[in-house]
Structures are given as structure tokens and as C-alpha cells.
């Protein structure tokens, strides 16, 4: 009898174990099934489209008769909203959008503790995808791979129907058209399209008031730069005159070097092993030794812009930033005389002109993709497309007429509610509450709207930064096929880890450039850089020939 109980117990444990594993299996099967289902419904949508597609879309108009709820993975909440709301649905803009479309969006936003790419990878690996994915570009293997791997819906068949507004803007500009399609000719995501060419909005800033006090000009040559930085250190007590950050590219561009690939005369070059890079690192390590560069640069965890606390307390005189931040620095500075102007990075001793800068394409942003698990792809597409219609774009950029904007000389202008908010919101915050926040979703974007809150002085910065041409820049949208990408990634991840670590070591003098450079180059060659360059070249060639077929 006792034996029987024991056997029963054993059974129980075993079934429990089975249950657990079966359940796990179930989860997987379920998600597999639903993918099958939706891709199936995609098929039917396609066939419908070919037979009576126009009618089908004709029936769907906003606002919908019955409320539809869609889910959207939104990454982290817009930086301007973090102190105001916890969910996009709490902003006036999204409430108005819901009123107009009768589509309710459930936003999935991540906590600020994780990085977007990490959270994105977790979301993808969970197998449980939302209807729409913002930050579609975070799928590092490329847009074609995202479709072939079965995550994103191929939007190409719907361009003329559900995405007609987006499509007409997309095809109106040749650059946008080229950038929007993948190598095999797909359109996979909906991205921001700028109505006008936006100037380069980020770069180096320098303390003009310090320069004036010392009777110095804006530095151009290497000697100028060294003199200026030395003066900052000695006369103004800056302990980190040049706030180098781990975003090295900005500082390397002046030398026609970058931490990745670049194009010169149609040929792809891996810059970190080039002579230009060697010269840049030699200069910076010399400056580091002389105490002209932030001694803690390698351990700083800043974003693109330099460490704010160092800037406003006068510890650094040259740093990376965005033009919109200048007024903020003035407000928080401990030195009331602070004056900033834009400056372009130091250039080669030989005087070789820099032709490397970050281009600002009209089609930009990581974009929004529709997942294969979306059950209402038609509604999702139309919802996304709405912000590319004239009516939708006006709402996204300027809000509601009479409330947040008014027409002045036929052009929309923000009212005081945005520019001088009665509740004490900054312009960026107000813009994010009442209109579509800058980097959120995808829309027909009016960059002119930003100018309302920016002083002319700040705007003048963009003109300086835009002086540097971006001919040598490796285009964002030259993308490898998924096979190429697999081969590339296996080699390149080791290389880039090695290079970031070595660049920091060379600058800080932990490694000596004059003796250890050759070893560094041969290590990179040993890791297969030649093949990587070849793959990048192929992708670039395909990018160039995209429009010609």
C-alpha cells in the first residue's frame, strides 16, 4: 500500500513536470499558430486587394464605426514627457488622435533603466509581438531579414491602398524614394518624412566668452585648437577643456576618420586602420597627456551631448551638443556671462578638407513596422498613414487650430499655449503634450515648427555645422542581405569591441601609438576586416544601383 502511495506521488511529480514542459511547448506553438494565421490573413488581404481592393479600403474611413484597440511597442517614453505623464494616452495629442480615428492604442513603454535596443531584443525574443513596433530599425539584421524571419509585415503591396498618403510623399522625392526601399525592393516600415530639408542639428559648441576674454578666434588649425584649449585650462580653470565622450565620431570627422566604415571615391574604407585615424589619435593622445581632454572620458556614461553638469559649471569649454540645448545651458549656467557658438572639429595638420559629417536625410528615424501577429493590419496601416495626410500632419505638427496654433500669413504658427505655456511647461514639453513628440511615431514632419522656440543664435549654430559636407559618409540605408549580415556580424562584433577598447587606450596613453599601432592594425586584419569591407562594398554598390532598375 505504501508503495502505491509512493508511485502515486511519483506520478504526480512527473505529470506536474510534463504539464510545465507541455505548457512551455504550448506557448511556442500558440505564437507559431497565430503568426501563421495573420500571415494567412495577410494573404487574403492581398487577394482581396487585387480583386476589389479599392472597395475594401473605401469602406474603411476614420473615425471607425466601432472602436478598435491596437497595441504599439513604443520604446522609452519621449524624454520631454517623462516628468509629466506615464503613458502617451495621457497627452492631449493622442487623445485627439483617438477621437479622430476611433482607434485606441495600448502603448508598451519600457522603463528608463534599460536601453531601447536591449528591451527591443527582449520583446522580439519573447515571441509575443504587439501589433505595431516603433523603433523598427532596431532589428539589426536589416528590414529584409525582419520580413524573411517573419517578424515584420511587408508593406509593399499596400502602398497604393492603405498607405497612399505616405506613398505619395515617399515617391515625390528621389532621395526619399531610394532610402525607403530595401535592396530587394520592399517597403517594410513607415518613417518620418521631412517636409523641408532640416539643417544639421548637432555638433561641437565652444565657449565664445572665454575666447573673447583671451582675444582668441574660433580655432581652425591644430595649433589654434591647442592654444585655445590650453588657454581654457590655464585662464579659466577648466579641468576638462575638451569634453571628449565615447561618441568619438564627432571628434574624428575633422580628420576624415570615423569609428566605422566610410566611402571615398566610391570605395568603402574601414576607417579605424587608416592613416587619418592614426593622426587623429596621435593628436588626441597628445592633448590628453597635456590635460586638455576630460581625464575621465572613457568612463563617462553620457549620451551624445556632453555631461551637462560639467558644461554648466564651467569645467569644459568644448563639447558635443544639440542646438536646442543652448538656451537650457544659459539658464542653468553658474556663469552668467556664458556664451556659446558652434565650431567644427579639429582638422588634419595637412589642411586636408573634412568631407565627413552626419547627413540629415529627409527620410529618417527608426520608423514604425507592423508585426506579423497584427490582426488588423489594414487599420494599423491606415492609422499610421493618417499622420501623412494633410489633416493628420497638421495635427501632428501643430495641434488644433485656435488652440495650439493659428494661421499667420497662411502659415501655421504656435500660440502662446506652446511657446509660453501658462502651466509652466517648456516649449519642448508643451509641444510633446499637445502635438506629436519629435521622435515618436512617423509623420510628415515640419521641422520649421521647432524654430518657434529657438533663438536665432541657436539656429545660427546649424549653419556652421552644415558647412562640412558629408560626401564620405557611408549611407544609412545601404544594407546587407541577411546571409551577408550573418557572415558580417560574426566577424565584425569582435572587431568593433576591439576597436572601441583600443581607441580609448590609445587616447589615454595606456597604449603607445608609435610602437603599438602596427600590432593593432594587424590584429584587425587577422579578424577578417578585408571580408567585412567587401561585404559593405557590395551593399553600397547595390544601394547605388537601386533606382536604376
Amino acid at each position: 500500500m505504501k508503495n502505491r502511495i509512493l508511485r502515486k506521488m511519483l506520478c504526480l511529480v512527473l505529470t506536474a513536470a510534463m504539464m510545465v514542459s507541455v505548457m512551455a511547448g504550448c506557448g511556442q506553438k500558440e505564437s507559431g499558430e497565430s503568426t501563421g494565421k495573420t500571415s494567412g490573413s495577410g494573404e487574403t488581404a492581398k487577394t482581396q486587394e487585387s480583386s476589389s481592393g479599392a472597395d475594401e479600403t473605401g469602406k474603411l474611413t476614420f473615425p471607425l464605426e466601432k472602436k478598435v484597440t491596437l497595441t504599439l511597442w513604443a520604446g522609452s517614453l519621449s524624454q520631454y514627457l517623462t516628468n509629466l505623464v506615464t503613458d502617451y494616452n495621457d497627452t492631449d495629442f493622442f487623445q485627439e488622435l483617438e477621437r479622430r480615428t476611433n482607434v485606441h492604442i495600448e502603448f508598451d513603454t519600457i522603463s528608463s533603466a534599460t536601453t531601447a535596443s536591449e528591451a527591443f531584443n527582449l520583446m522580439i525574443s519573447s515571441g509575443d509581438l504587439p501589433d505595431m513596433i516603433m523603433g523598427a530599425g532596431l532589428y539589426t539584421a536589416g528590414m529584409d531579414a525582419a520580413v524573411e524571419d517573419g517578424y515584420y509585415l511587408d508593406l509593399t503591396p499596400y502602398l497604393d491602398t492603405y498607405l497612399s498618403n505616405f506613398n505619395s510623399l515617399r515617391t515625390a522625392d528621389e532621395d526619399v524614394l531610394l532610402d525607403s526601399i530595401t535592396d530587394v525592393g520592399r517597403v517594410v516600415r513607415v518613417q518620418n518624412i521631412s517636409q523641408t530639408q532640416q539643417p544639421l542639428f548637432m555638433g561641437l559648441m565652444i565657449r565664445k566668452d572665454w575666447l573673447d576674454k583671451d582675444g582668441l578666434d574660433i580655432p581652425k588649425t591644430l595649433e589654434d585648437w591647442e592654444a585655445v584649449l590650453t588657454a581654457f585650462k590655464e585662464n579659466h580653470g577648466a579641468y576638462a577643456p575638451f569634453a571628449l565622450t565615447p561618441y568619438y565620431d564627432m571628434f574624428l570627422y575633422g580628420f576624415n576618420a570615423t569609428t566605422g566604415f566610410m566611402v571615398r571615391d566610391g570605395k568603402v574604407i574601414y576607417s579605424p586602420t587608416s592613416e587619418n585615424m592614426k593622426e587623429a589619435l596621435t593628436v588626441y593622445s597628445d592633448w590628453y597627456k597635456k590635460g586638455l581632454i576630460d581625464p575621465d572620458f572613457m568612463a563617462r556614461e553620457t549620451g551624445y551631448a556632453g555631461d551637462t553638469s560639467m558644461i554648466v559649471t564651467g569645467q569644459s569649454g568644448v563639447f558635443n551638443s544639440y542646438y536646442t540645448l543652448m538656451d537650457y545651458y544659459y539658464q542653468s549656467s553658474t556663469d552668467p556671462d556664458m556664451e556659446l557658438v558652434a565650431v567644427n572639429p579639429p582638422v588634419c595638420a595637412s589642411g586636408e578638407e573634412s568631407r565627413l559629417a552626419t547627413p540629415i536625410p529627409k527620410l529618417a528615424g527608426d520608423g514604425v513596422a507592423i508585426s506579423t501577429q497584427c490582426e488588423n493590419p489594414d487599420i494599423a496601416m491606415m492609422w499610421l498613414d493618417y499622420l501623412f495626410s494633410e489633416e493628420g500632419a497638421l495635427l501632428a505638427n501643430y495641434g488644433i487650430e485656435g488652440d495650439t496654433f493659428e494661421y499667420v500669413d497662411g502659415k501655421p504658427q504656435f500660440t502662446e499655449k506652446i511657446t509660453n505655456n501658462p502651466d509652466g511647461l517648456s516649449m519642448n514639453q508643451a509641444m510633446s503634450m499637445y502635438t506629436c513628440p519629435p521622435a515618436v511615431l512617423a509623420k510628415s514632419y515640419s521641422s520649421e515648427r521647432e524654430l518657434a522656440g529657438v533663438s536665432e543664435e541657436s539656429l545660427a549654430m546649424c549653419d556652421v555645422w552644415s558647412l562640412v559636407p558629408s560626401d564620405y559618409f557611408y549611407p544609412f540605408t545601404a544594407i546587407m542581405t541577411s546571409d551577408e549580415n550573418n557572415e558580417f556580424a560574426a566577424m565584425y562584433s569582435d572587431i568593433s569591441t576591439y576597436v572601441t577598447s583600443e581607441i580609448a587606450s590609445f587616447i589615454s596613453g595606456e597604449k603607445d601609438i608609435s610602437t603599438e599601432w602596427d600590432e593593432y592594425v594587424s590584429t584587425i586584419e587577422g579578424l577578417g576586416i578585408e571580408r567585412c569591407v567587401e561585404l559593405k562594398q557590395n551593399a553600397y554598390d547595390r544601394y547605388l544601383s537601386r533606382g536604376t532598375e
Binding site: N3, G32, I124, G127, D149, G150, P295, A490, S508
Partner: protein, 315 residues
């Protein structure tokens, strides 16, 4: 009693009847173990099925069986990678340093605390050393990073000796001392608890007997105290050896920066970067699996050696 007889006696204790009887007698106690068991099942046994990831080019929506089978590709990639020797080496060195300084340091600390006669002071020491354990790792890392900047307290202190103030976290040779020292600061008090408990369990009459035999403090420690807590030490050591290849990634990724990868990058931080940052699931699983296999072999070996040599063992 020979060890063979001992084992025979042990065996007899766990018959089917005995288990059932014990189960009936302590139903509530067993029920209390259920949540723990479920946790072990969920987090320690379930993931075993996930090891399949190491052999396929894993795409989450295709599942393990749907993804393309690549065999031992990722293992070969790892073994031939330039980072193989570096990450394994760094992990082992850090682990050994932990055993030498943290593991034995903790025992030494427990012995010293045990010798304190002033109860108030003893309790205070214990509380003070125990407290850092409750500070979140993220906060601790933040403190360390701040102290190590070129103007930070620690860097200034070091500059008195070296003459130059530089960021301590930018020098690869400082990494290990910093890591171990902060480990000690945070874990000394907590680690000592288990030994203090063992020390409290030693029969006081043994000390009296030793005193009568003419043993001083030192001899008492050597012949009564140490043998008394030896089983605990051995068990703890076996467990530690069993995890020698897996130094946690949390502290490392919070503290390191690319410039000091040379000494700071360990297997777990490498796996983290490969798996979560680069989404290369197969590769990072392969590295983890390799890691676990070595750990298991070490654990079993250490256990066997200890069973032979000291009669103390985990299983």
C-alpha cells in the same frame, strides 16, 4: 566506524516507508517547501530545454526546432575567438582571487569576531559589516564609479602614492583590486554569518578540556575551533569551486568600460553583450553551456576529492 558502515546506515534511513512516514508526519513542512521547489523547477530545470539554442541559429518566432540547425558552429567560433583565452582567463583569475581573499578573508573575519568578548562591540561590528549587503548593486557601482573619477576620493588617495591623479577605472591593472576590495566591503559581514553560526554550535566543554590540557588561545583555535567549523568550510568551498567559472555579470557591466576590457571582460559579461546587446542568442547560449559544463565537472571533482580526503561532501 568505517565509512562503509556509515554509508550503509545512511542508506537504510531513506527507504520508501521512511519517506512516506516522514511525509505524513511533516505535511506542513513539506507544503512549505513547495514554492521553493516550483522555483527550482521553473528557473533551474526548465531552462535546460533552452540549451538547444546553442546548436541552432535561433530566431525566436521559429522556435528551437524551426530555427536552422548549425551544429557546433558557435562552439568553434567561441574557441577560435580572440576573446576566448581572455574571458576565460579573466574569469578564472577573478574567481581564484575571490577564493583567496573573500572566501578565506570571511573565515578569518568570523574567527576574529568570535574572539571578541565585549558583546556590545561584537554586535556592532557585525551590524556595521552586514549593512553594505543591503545596498543595491547599482548603487554600490555608482558609488565606486564616482569615487574612481580623477577627482574622486579613491583616485585622490591613490594619487598620493603614484603622483598622478587619473581615473582608476581606466587602468586595467587596478580593476581586480577594486573588484575584490568592493566585494569584501559588501560581502564580509553576510558571508561570516554562516561561520558564526557554526562557531556557536561548537561544544563549549571542548574548550574547557583544551584549557585544562594547557592550550592557549591559538592552540584552541587550531585544535578546537577550526576542526569544529571544518565541515562548513568544506561545503562552502565545494560550492564556491562549483561556480568558479561563473562570476556574476552585474557588477562587471556596471563598472567596466571598453578601455579595461583586457582585464575586466569576463565570460558572463561577454555572454551578456553577445546575447542581449547583439541578439546573438545561439552564440551566447553556447558560451554559457560550455561554462556550465566546466562548472559541473569542477563541482563533482571537488566533491569527490573532499569525500575521499575529509569525509565531508555535498552528495
Amino acid at each position: 566506524m568505517s565509512s562503509g558502515a556509515l554509508r550503509a546506515k545512511r542508506k537504510k534511513k531513506y527507504t520508501a516507508e521512511a519517506i512516506v512516514k516522514d511525509f505524513k508526519k511533516h505535511k506542513v513542512a513539506y507544503a512549505m517547501a513547495v514554492p521553493g521547489l516550483i522555483m527550482v523547477l521553473l528557473f533551474n530545470y526548465m531552462p535546460i530545454f533552452g540549451l538547444g539554442l546553442a546548436f541552432v541559429n535561433y530566431k525566436p518566432n521559429l522556435g528551437i526546432f524551426g530555427s536552422k540547425f548549425v551544429g557546433l558552429k558557435y562552439f568553434k567560433e567561441f574557441f577560435s575567438s580572440m576573446y576566448f583565452v581572455r574571458t576565460v582567463g579573466n574569469t578564472l583569475i577573478l574567481s581564484l582571487l575571490q577564493i583567496v581573499f573573500v572566501f578565506f578573508g570571511t573565515i578569518l573575519f568570523a574567527l576574529l569576531v568570535n574572539e571578541l568578548k565585549n558583546q556590545k562591540f561584537k554586535r556592532m561590528v557585525q551590524t556595521v559589516t552586514y549593512l553594505p549587503n543591503f545596498i543595491s548593486m547599482v548603487v554600490v557601482a555608482g558609488i565606486i564609479v564616482n569615487f574612481c573619477t580623477s577627482k574622486g576620493v579613491l583616485a585622490q588617495l591613490v594619487s598620493i602614492f603614484t603622483g598622478e591623479s587619473k581615473n582608476l577605472l581606466s587602468v586595467s591593472s587596478y580593476w581586480r583590486p577594486l573588484y575584490i576590495a568592493s566585494d569584501l566591503w559588501q560581502g564580509l559581514g553576510t558571508g561570516a554569518i554562516v561561520y558564526l553560526a557554526a562557531l556557536a554550535g561548537i561544544d563549549q566543554t571542548l574548550y574547557e578540556a583544551a584549557v585544562i590540557d594547557g592550550a592557549g588561545r591559538w592552540k584552541q583555535t587550531l585544535h578546537v575551533t577550526l576542526p569544529g567549523i571544518l565541515p562548513t568550510i568544506i561545503i562552502m568551498l565545494i560550492l564556491k569551486i562549483g561556480s568558479i567559472m561563473s562570476v556574476g555579470y552585474e557588477k562587471t557591466i556596471l563598472l567596466y568600460n571598453p578601455q579595461i576590457y583586457e582585464t575586466a571582460d569576463i565570460i558572463s559579461s561577454f555572454v551578456y553583450r553577445k546575447g542581449l546587446v547583439e541578439a546573438n542568442y545561439g552564440f551566447s547560449t553556447a558560451v554559457s553551456l560550455f561554462n556550465s559544463v566546466i562548472n559541473t565537472v569542477l563541482l563533482i571533482t571537488a566533491n569527490a576529492i573532499s569525500r575521499k580526503a575529509t569525509d565531508n561532501s555535498l552528495f
